[in-house]
Amino acid sequence: MDPVSVSIEINGAVFEREIEPRMLLSDFIRHEARLTGTHVGCEHGVCGACTVQLEGAPVRACLLLAVQAHGRALRTVEGLAGEDGTLHPLQRAFHETHALQCGFCTPGFLMAIEPMLDRVGELDDARLRELIGGNLCRCTGYDSIVSAVRLAHARLPQAGEMGPPTPPAAEPDETPTPVATRPRWRRPVPAAVGLIALVAGAAAGLRRR
């Protein structure tokens, strides 16, 4: 029960604190790093409001201890927009399609959807709703959120405009699956560069989803 020292990178900035091991990551983000864009709803993994990206993969911040993120890189909703405040294409699409009313759930939706944005083109609405089913919204009825995802996807740079060619998919092999190769996410500056990294990362098959 002694305090432990942690060093956690959030949106590129490192936060070093002495904390109790029982502190939830969601509380570390809000109370220690003072990044209050990450919202806390149910605090038991049901509502999805606290979803952040841990090494690029969306996770529930309320179901992680802050100490478990020691030495690792997080990205929260504050890391989506550019340095100059330019909204991420997904944020812009949410704005334009009225995919939020009260906005409480929005950061969770954004962080859950953003890493899979390049894949949603192949999904029908039912499957897309299945994928975003881990986030609750009590205002919109979800239709406008689905519209926002479609709009943001439609605006992704087309293949061919995005620099390096897609590497061939890895052959199925029977070697142990490495777990320590998650991509480290950086704030996209400018947004277009980030998108290229996002798509290239997906092509390399590094992302969990």
Binding site: M1, V4, E20, P21, R22, L24, D27, E43, H44, G45, G48, T51, A57, P58, V59, R60, C62, L63, L64, L65, V67, Q68, A112, M116, R129, E130, L131, G133, G134, N135, P172, E174, T175, P176, T177, V179, A180, R208, R209
Partner: protein
């Protein structure tokens, strides 16, 4: 809604974990993906003296196929199993079951071993692993042992593990060929705990099901995954068609012992077992 204080221990190896488990026994709790344990800590339904976080035990995270047998390290994440080409090619039942399991952010974090050791009768993986007749490798400072599904899923939220034991590996035997499988469930919303579900594996022998080649396991219909030998017997060594699928469904409904709760009463869940079993049998046969 915050965990009670605990000592946090983060071993780096299985050997170190076993020493810690030997020392803390029932007062220690293993933290894997945390998608079930963390809510219990947050609600203070669990207040262990020590939390033993195995997330740094890299040697427990792997998916391999050896002599036709699938070996899954206990710390393998659901998302890793879900996108494993080995699993999709040889054990598609697992890939299909994982699609029903909660939501992507949960699958990114939750582990196969955690789901098994939590032994929730409404969880997908224990049902699928029972249908595939998996074996569970437990280790402690006293040595190792192998548990079968009946021993592993001893009761609701009760695994067959001793307090000083760690689940290290899940082994799934090869499924005979040609065969087909299906995992079907019904939840009020996709990703919620299911009101009912079933895993079916059928081994084909010409135009009939091979003798002893049917496995039918219900979800949420008892204290653990519920195998239905009566329904299996109705299919074994006979033609699989609408009629025998319906009969297997009725047998599953009779065998089911579902709970009643505010989400659905036992009668409704029993009818679900009938309908879902019939549907899954036909689907599995179509794929065989």
């Amino acid at each position: 809604m915050k965990p009670a204080p605990f000592d946090y221990l983060a071993p780096q190896s299985v050997a170190e974990t076993l020493q810690l488990l030997a020392r803390h026994g029932a007062e220690g709790k293993v933290l894997a993906g945390g998608q079930s344990l963390m809510p219990m800590l947050n609600f203070r339904l669990a207040q262990p003296e020590a939390v033993i976080d195995i997330n740094n035990v890299a040697e427990l995270s792997y998916i391999t196929r050896e002599q036709g047998e699938l070996r899954i390290g206990a710390l393998t994440r659901h998302a890793e199993l879900e996108r494993s080409p080995i699993v999709a090619a040889h054990w598609p039942l697992l890939t299909e079951a994982l699609r029903w399991l909660a939501h992507p952010p949960i699958r990114n974090r939750g582990t196969v071993g955690g789901s098994v050791a939590h032994a929730d009768p409404a969880a997908e993986l224990p049902v699928a692993l029972t249908a595939l007749d998996a074996r569970f490798i437990a280790e402690s400072h006293r040595g190792g042992r192998v548990l079968d599904p009946g021993e592993m899923f001893a009761g609701p939220l009760q695994s067959g593990l001793e307090p000083d034991e760690l689940l290290v590996e899940i082994r799934v035997p090869a499924v005979p060929s040609p065969s087909g499988c299906a995992f079907v469930e019904h939840a009020r919303r996709h990703g919620d705990f299911a009101l009912g579900g079933v895993a079916v594996v059928l081994v084909r022998d010409g135009d009939r099901c091979r003798e002893g080649g049917a496995r039918i396991v219900l979800l949420g219909a008892g204290p653990g995954p519920r195998r239905v030998p009566e329904a299996e017997a109705l299919l074994a060594a006979g033609p699989v068609d609408e009629e025998s699928a319906r009969a297997a469904g009725e047998a599953a409904g009779r065998a089911a012992e579902p709970p009643s709760d505010p989400h659905a009463d036992a009668g409704h869940r029993r009818r679900l077992a009938v309908a879902l079993t019939r549907r899954a049998v036909l689907q599995a046969w179509e794929r065989a």
